[in-house]
Symmetry: C2
Subunit: 343 residues, 2 copies
């Protein structure tokens, strides 16, 4: 038999209303009563039933977080940022993954709203915003993170993917590497699209013609990076550099270069997007575009809480964070190392 607020009322000799007010620090309660009730609460080990409370207040102090996958470092670093910020403000996080499948995503949203999350933070999968129309009309605030959706305005936190890419590719060009390959993902995803856009812009900026033969699109995963790097390496006229659009494609590409031994024959100037725990160990890239992943999460959390608390009510806002650019002058250049002692 769990102890309820009513029990506390009884043993304290007051009404349930009074106990409830003590719990919510209502200033109308006298100091004496407050102390007495608090003492009984402490003795009895009473704990509020948040479910009952939520039913009445229509707030759950819970924010839903949906990412394409759980086991990806970028998404989970964002999640950590969200969680830290939420916890600091007394909120919980209900989490789910969509597997990059819009149908599963919809299902997750449906289930979360049924559980009355106060707000939803979503890293959406590919596609447009039409599937979110219903959600948008509901009372549940939404913040899009990392990726935007065509034809859908909502609060959002993103980084400037085009600018980050453009700057990195430009840097390579300024060092005289003009033939830069591209390993990206489906342009149905805004980040993939924007990174491609930045790549194109860099070419335009430098008046360099873009060779479509060395532009490859995959799906942001390791196998894809592996396969595309192989295609690139198989070209008769190899690229001098390669831009690789995310961490996992970089892992795959690196794996190919190492396994095939290609790395001992050709020295690609690699740019990779995302700085993760393994990045300093792989060291094949000359340039790394980094994202403030935790800050993205923290920003999204602050944004959603602003809506939830009604502190912010106007039209959707977008928070755009900048990317970093790290040069690895100590990057491997295995072939030169190997050749140095030898030749």
């Amino acid at each position: 038999m769990t102890i309820t607020l009513k029990d506390i009322a009884k043993i304290s000799g007051v009404s349930a209303a009074t106990v409830s007010r003590v719990l919510s620090d209502d200033p109308r309660i006298s100091g004496a009563t407050r102390e007495k009730v608090l003492a009984r609460i402490r003795e009895s080990g009473y704990r509020v039933n948040d479910i009952a409370r939520s039913l009445k207040t229509r707030r759950t102090n819970t924010i839903g977080f949906i990412a394409p996958l759980l086991a990806e470092e970028f998404f989970m670093t964002v999640a950590q940022g969200v969680e830290d910020e939420l916890r600091a403000q007394g909120f919980h996080m209900l989490i789910a993954s969509s597997k990059e499948d819009p149908r599963i995503e919809c299902e997750c949203i449906e289930l979360m709203t049924r559980r009355w999350v106060d707000g939803l933070i979503l890293i959406p999968c590919a596609g447009d915003g039409s599937r979110l129309a219903r959600l948008a009309k509901s009372r549940v605030p939404l913040v899009l993170v990392d990726r935007l959706l065509k034809g859908f305005r909502a609060d959002a936190v993103v980084v400037d993917n085009a600018q980050g890419t453009r700057r990195a590719v430009a840097r390579l060009m300024e060092r005289g590497i003009t033939r830069v390959g591209f390993i990206g993902a489906s342009r149905k995803i805004s980040t993939a699209r924007d990174r491609y856009r930045g790549y194109v812009q860099a070419h335009r900026d430098h008046g360099i013609a873009l060779d479509p033969a060395i532009v490859k699109f995959g799906d942001f995963h390791q196998e894809s990076g592996y396969g595309l790097m192989r295609e690139l390496a198989a070209m008769k006229r190899p690229a001098g550099g390669v831009f690789i659009a995310n961490h996992y494609m970089y892992l795959g590409a690196a794996q190919y270069l190492l396994e095939s031994g290609n790395i001992y024959r050709h020295d690609y100037a690699i740019i990779n997007f995302d700085e993760m725990s393994a990045t300093p160990v792989i060291r094949l890239a000359k340039l790394t575009v980094s994202q403030p992943s935790r800050e993205i999460g923290a920003g999204a959390a602050r944004m959603i809480l602003g809506r939830v608390r009604g502190e912010r009510t106007g039209p959707p806002e977008t928070l755009t964070l900048g990317t970093g650019l790290v040069a690895h002058d100590d990057a491997y250049s295995l072939n030169s190392m190997i050749n140095k002692p030898g030749a």
Copy 2:
């Protein structure tokens, strides 16, 4: 104005009880009524209020999951396994991270039980089980994952860390490498303890004296692996091999070996624990002990659901999964590669 079950009752010309029974597929409801009510539900876009339902049924269909950190691949692969299994069975996942701090962990547990999670899956942080005594006495089922706690029996899913380590170290010894260093973590954590135990056993099995000078304890993180590898490398009499107790320490150790250039001077036979997405790219290890992380998660989910549904009631059970052992005969051996063309 949200539509409630009562509204559906009214427009269908039946009582709320009947609608509720339709919703739960009660066989006593006649086909005609069922169809009529379902039609009204569909037209109106009615959706049950899970909060109200939970208040009455005392079940939330939600399982809490607490891990030391969110942004670690192992934990999140487990989480993905948990989530997939839970979703397949109609359950949600409330997630939180303890930051390896028992106080935060307790707080998370407290908050989750206040939200009436039906069960709790916990990857605990260091320390003993006393802090969980209260939880254990409550009605909330608990499954410990990955790590066990001294003096605390509960359902659990773990891998055989000692055995996995022992076999790997033994393999190295059989290849003639008898001086094997150890880079591990605090023995307050059961996995760290067990991996050390396996390392010791391998020595005993082979009648090899263990040199405490090359046994180092850190904290499972990258910086720690980096620092300990440096210590090991600084020894006058270097080890022939090194066992590194988890992925992040391996990353750190690898980073040190690469940055310091040590890798070009000495060829450590490395064993690393955990096979992660970056593992095939790093390729410094000769042997990798792998864990079935998703299966751990899925197993934990099944275990907790068994308790939640009351299908399983007896004393605590432990599910112990085996580890894999992968040999990388193509592992880097950079120094030999460099020397081959040269010398």
